[in-house]
């Protein structure tokens, strides 16, 4: 075994950066960007080294990638068996995630140096970015589910802070609030899931939990509740947490609003890393899901499937480019969920798992690219609305090319990375669940359509009147674009099944042409439609939208989910629970207390007549009191 102690620094460097920049950032001014970037760069290099050492040097023991504890110490002892550790678990998926996170984060850091240049709170931005990176890294290397939960929450908070970066903008504030509360609600499910799980298995530890021969998985056959085993329930609850973070239906509503944050943040958090935490969570517990709670896994699959369709449909109608991308993210994560949902445990049966992780990996690259590209566009034209854009290709050449690459990638054009990953998800779906397969195929088409709708609207189409000529971004911004474009192109060639599989045993994956071809065709078809509709300015889109006016309206309004939530929170919770509770407290509970004193006062006032100042009345009370007392004592207390 190798000494992986240095991995600790991957986590600690961002933390140190956060503390440094957070507490003393105002003294560094512009330097803070460079500091933060440098720190992340070191972490990135360390991650790459870790990946190399794990995958190629030490990790593979006898054909299996063993999980390794690089570091572990007890953080909080709860019961004899349940203790929260803080540690670093290295196994294929965590190492992969380390690479993904540090890569994207590093790129975003570089990019932000340019993008955020003129912002106030420059240091604060980098501090938060570091905090986020730290939390996200902590999440992926968690050795136990509770450590994961801890960093999960931290991730949520950093996301909150970053979404609310423009804290003077009310929309940003409410978006950040919404994001936090919705995910918090989901985390409640996560927490309950953890409680149930840990109660049954008596452990938080991932290694013992996912040990397929271990006692934890065997617990699955335990007592049942409403037809599902307790284990299944607990995993469904856990998935609720994942669904919240990963913006799965119906907990997705925070994600589009989260685009209020600065664009690099959207790229890092709300596209590449944090939102896949849910996927990662399910993948982490995959053996438990697959063996003990297959129904739970089905739920994951269906939720993912529906979310991806749902999001894709909405994406087709949105005009805010970041929102389109946000729904696209949601849709793509749906894919990943589907991949997990249709997977089984072990070997080739675990194709879906592998594919899902693969897609996660490629998605991180191209989606970050898309967002950063979008950021560059916004940077150039100072608007998010695609209706106010057009013909940008000649002003922003680098952005244009990299954006096109990303669009092609997401559309699943062969030889680009997402083609491979998406294709494998579809393959796995095809073998396990035909319904999901066809839906996903359709979504693939939709994806291509809405991405190219965006592409054509922005880079081609009619050029509106710009206030000032858009210009290409500085190098600090274009370098990450180019780097990520390269990644998007070539990431697909990594033989993923050799490294990341459901049972950590490498296997050979083969491409099934019977599935690859239809998906490509569907993708191309989508591009074609988009080309027809949006290459030049036509009335076609309007006509179509009026043709399907009802459906279009619903989709445009995101199926009124925001309104529904608003109704639930504002009307039900605030007006029908909180207000009444507050009222009840003031008037009933407090009223009772005040009432007691009021009654006392009243009585006190009423009986003052006894003290009339009249001697004879006193005597009368005296005598009648005496007689009364005598009567009571003699006759009421019968001896």
């Amino acid at each position: 075994m190798s000494n992986f102690n240095y991995t600790l620094f991957i986590v600690l460097i961002p933390l140190a950066m956060f503390l440094l920049l957070g507490l003393q950032g105002h003294k560094f001014k512009k330097l803070s960007g460079i500091l933060g970037t440098t720190g992340l760069g070191i972490a990135w290099i360390l991650s790459l080294i870790t990946a190399y050492q794990y995958f190629f040097v030490y990790g593979n023991v006898g054909g299996v990638f063993k999980p390794m504890l690089a570091y572990n110490s007890v953080w909080l002892q709860m019961t004899e068996t349940l203790h929260i550790d803080m540690g670093i678990l290295l196994d294929p998926i965590s190492v992969m995630m380390l690479v993904v996170i540090t890569t994207v984060s590093f790129m975003v850091h570089i990019y932000s140096n340019g993008y955020m240049k003129d912002e106030q709170g420059f240091a604060r931005f980098f501090a938060f970015l570091s905090l986020f990176t730290f939390s996200m890294l902590g999440l992926v290397i968690a050795t136990n589910i509770f450590q994961m939960y801890i960093f999960w929450e931290l991730v949520g908070v950093s996301s909150y802070l970053l979404i609310g970066y423009y804290y003077q903008k009310p929309s940003a504030v409410s978006a950040s609030k919404k994001a936090f509360i919705v995910t918090r609600f989901a985390d409640l499910g996560f927490l309950i899931g953890i409680l149930l799980l840990s109660f049954n298995t008596k452990t938080f530890d991932f290694i013992s939990l996912t040990d397929i021969h271990g006692p934890a998985i065997a617990c699955g056959a335990g007592a049942s509740f409403l037809g599902l085993s307790v284990m299944t329930w607990s995993l469904i609850f856990v998935f609720m947490g994942g669904a919240g973070k990963s913006a799965m239906f119906p907990l997705h509503i925070w994600l589009p609003d989260a685009m209020e944050g600065p664009t690099p943040v959207s790229a890092l958090i709300h596209a590449a890393t944090m939102v896949v935490a849910g996927v990662y969570l399910v993948a982490r517990l995959f053996p438990v899901y697959a063996i003990s709670a297959p129904q739970g896994l089905e739920v994951v699959g269906y939720v993912g499937c529906f979310s991806s369709l749902f999001a894709a449909v909405i994406a087709c109608t949105q005009y805010d480019i970041k929102r389109v991308l946000a729904y696209s993210t949601m849709s793509q994560i749906g894919y990943m969920m589907v991949g997990l949902g249709v997977s089984h445990y072990g070997g080739e049966e675990g194709l879906g798992f592998m594919a899902s992780m693969f897609h996660l990996f490629t998605h991180a690259m191209f989606k970050a690219l898309l967002f950063l590209g979008a950021g560059a566009i916004i940077h150039a034209v100072h608007t998010n609305e695609m209706t106010e854009m057009g013909g940008l290709r000649k002003y922003l050449p680098i952005t244009h090319i990299t954006f096109l690459i990303a669009c092609l990638t997401i559309a699943g054009i062969p030889l680009l990375s997402a083609f491979f990953s998406k294709d494998e998800i579809l393959t796995a779906a095809f073998h396990n669940n035909k319904l999901i397969f066809f839906v996903q195929l359709f979504v693939a088409g939709l994806t291509a359509f809405y991405m190219f709708r965006l592409y054509f609207r922005v880079f081609w189409n009619k050029e509106p009147h710009y206030h000032h000529t858009p210009h290409e971004s500085p190098l600090t911004m274009t370098i990450p674009l180019m780097f990520l474009a390269v990644c998007s192109i070539f990431a697909g060639y990594i033989p993923f099944s050799q490294f990341v599989t459901s049972d950590s045993k490498p296997f050979e994956s083969v491409m099934e042409m019977g599935i690859a071809i239809p998906s490509v065709v569907v993708g191309l078809f989508g591009i074609l439609i988009a080309f027809v509709m949006y290459k030049k300015e036509t009335t076609l889109p309007d006509r179509i939208s009026t043709g399907f006016s009802f459906f279009y309206k619903w989709a445009f309004h995101k199926f009124y989910f925001d309104e529904l939530y608003l109704f639930v929170t504002k009307k039900i919770i605030f007006r029908f629970i909180s207000r009444p509770v507050a009222w009840f407290d003031r008037h009933i509970v407090d009223g009772t207390m005040n009432g007691i004193s009021a009654v006392t006062n009243y009585v006190s006032f009423q009986i003052r007549g006894f003290q009339s100042g009249q001697l004879q009345q006193y005597a009368y009370v005296f005598v009648s009191g005496l007689v009364g007392l005598a009567l009571v004592i003699l006759y009421a207390f019968v001896k």
Partner: protein
């Protein structure tokens, strides 16, 4: 002399020195020095305690000392601490220290203010070091009564009403408590002759069940009033809202903990059988407290009210955890007390500081303060995050310990209560974020607030002390948890024998 007695003597000396001071500058300096020494003593005590334990002292209470006071009634002045008491003393010392600095600006009758404040503190310290029911009760009341003047004289809003209500309700609690204590006393030696108030001695015997059925509820409710148990919590919102900064801090931060600590140390420790039999009633009430307080907080407009209801919720969680009656939850309950003590003190400190600048506590009348008073705003956010249970801050440790522990209870009723209580973490998030959003973020909506000044050095001292403590517990909870956990042995034995 016993080191523990110093915790009462130092405040007394400080109070006497305060009487001799002239002018508010001297007074606050003396107070700060006195309570600074107290804080140092508390730290020393922690180390001494840990040293004792490490050197193999396995007594239930260390630094135990007992001297007779009223021989004929066997009332003694008995002191002794275990890990829990040490932790509570530490908490108190921190909060009082922070409280002194938070009230650096008090210039109206400064001397009297600090004397009352320190008198209150000495009551709290005395309560925690004592092991004799009589002296505990004495200190308990000593701690409660200065509240009246503190709120009435230096408070704001409907202070007279609130002060009266608070005092009377707390005294009402202590009325029930008194009967409970007497009941325990007269049942403290079945068959024997010598009755005792000594907790340790009483814990060795089994109080007859008929007595327990009568006195457990009395004692529990008695302490529960101070612990803001539903529906006896209504002193809390008004009281806190009207109290001056340091008093809110001390009261919510420390005094309310006397309730939880008392429930734990007296009601449950001495009457475990009744705790088992009757716990469910209070469990329902505390579960309601937890959720109810949180919902109540959402609808409030005044910062202090929000925090007061939040305290109801959090303190409800303390009692809730105690009633779950296993080692983990008890551990969690104590940590929750400390955690809540620190963060609510921080909250009140900040609210006071903000109020001192903006002269309003209605959140709707403020906005965008982050821009003008970034330090306070950031600390406010930290406090908020601690309150909603962010990992790395103390609240998380406490809540999670409680939830995990509670869930170990196999009974379905307890499970339902647990899950209901868990739901509070979402509601907490809602109201905390609501406040933060309105208060600190967004545009500045009141032009008077454009030129506020940020925290002064003493305000920074006050808040940073608390933040450090919160983060310290949040980041490295193990030592605290172990210190508490080691001391839970006797009560756990009591409770498990009670089955």
């Amino acid at each position: 002399m016993n080191i523990l007695s110093l915790f009462v003597i130092i405040p007394l000396i400080t109070m006497f020195s305060l009487m001799l001071t002239k002018g508010f500058k001297q007074a606050r300096l003396v107070a700060a020095i006195g309570m600074g020494i107290q804080l140092i003593m508390a730290v020393v005590l922690v180390f001494m305690y840990l040293h004792e334990r490490n050197t193999g002292n396995t007594q239930e209470m260390v630094f135990y000392d007992s001297s007779m006071w009223f021989p004929s009634l066997n009332i003694t002045y008995t002191v002794g601490v275990d890990g829990i008491a040490v932790a509570m003393i530490m908490l108190t010392a921190i909060v009082v220290f922070a409280g002194i600095f938070a009230s650096w600006d008090v210039q109206f009758l400064t001397k009297e203010f600090f004397i009352s404040l320190i008198l209150l503190a000495s009551g709290v310290f005395g309560f925690f070091i004592c092991l004799d029911l009589f002296t505990m009760f004495l200190f308990y009341e000593v701690a409660v009564i200065p509240m009246y003047l503190l709120i009435g004289l230096w408070g704001s809003g409907p202070k007279e009403y609130s002060a009266m209500k608070l005092t009377l309700m707390l005294m009402g609690g202590s009325a029930l408590l008194l009967v409970g204590l007497l009941g325990i006393y007269f049942n403290s030696n079945p068959g024997g002759t010598q009755l005792t108030f000594n907790i340790l001695s009483i814990s060795k015997i089994v109080i007859p069940m008929s007595a327990q059925h009568l006195f457990f509820p009395l004692t529990f409710v008695g302490f529960g009033v101070l612990g803001a148990m539903f529906p006896l919590h209504t002193w809390s919102p008004d009281g806190h809202a009207s109290a001056p900064t340091a008093v809110s801090m001390l009261h919510a931060g420390v005094l309310m903990k006397l309730g939880g600590y008392g429930c734990f140390r007296v009601a449950m420790f001495l009457m475990p059988q009744a705790a088992h039999e009757m716990g469910w009633i209070f469990l329902i009430l505390t579960t309601i407290s937890v959720v109810y307080g949180a919902f109540g907080a959402i609808a409030q407009k005044d910062l202090k009210y929000i925090n007061a209801y939040s305290s109801v919720s959090h303190c409800g969680l303390v009692l809730f955890a105690l009633l779950m009656m296993n080692k983990t939850t008890m551990d969690g309950a104590i940590i929750q007390m400390i955690s809540h003590g620190l963060m609510t003190a921080l909250f009140f400190a900040l609210i006071g500081m903000i109020y001192g600048r903006t002269h309003t506590r209605l959140i709707n009348e403020m906005g965008g303060l982050m821009k003008v008073i970034p330090f306070l705003a950031v600390v406010y956010v930290i406090a908020g995050l601690a309150s909603l249970g962010l990992p790395g801050l103390s609240g998380f440790v406490a809540e999670m310990t409680i939830f995990v522990g509670s869930f170990q209870h196999p009974d379905i009723f307890h499970r339902i209560c647990t899950i209901t209580a868990c739901a509070s973490i979402v509601i907490t998030a809602v109201y905390i974020l609501r406040v933060v959003g309105i208060l600190l973020f967004g545009p500045i909506n009141n032009e008077h607030h454009l030129h506020l000044t940020d925290a002064k050095w003493y305000e920074k001292t006050s808040t940073v002390t608390l933040v450090l403590a919160i983060a310290g517990i949040g980041l490295a909870p193990l030592w605290l948890s172990n210190m508490i956990g080691d001391s839970l042995g006797p009560i756990m034995t009591q409770l498990s024998n009670a089955f």
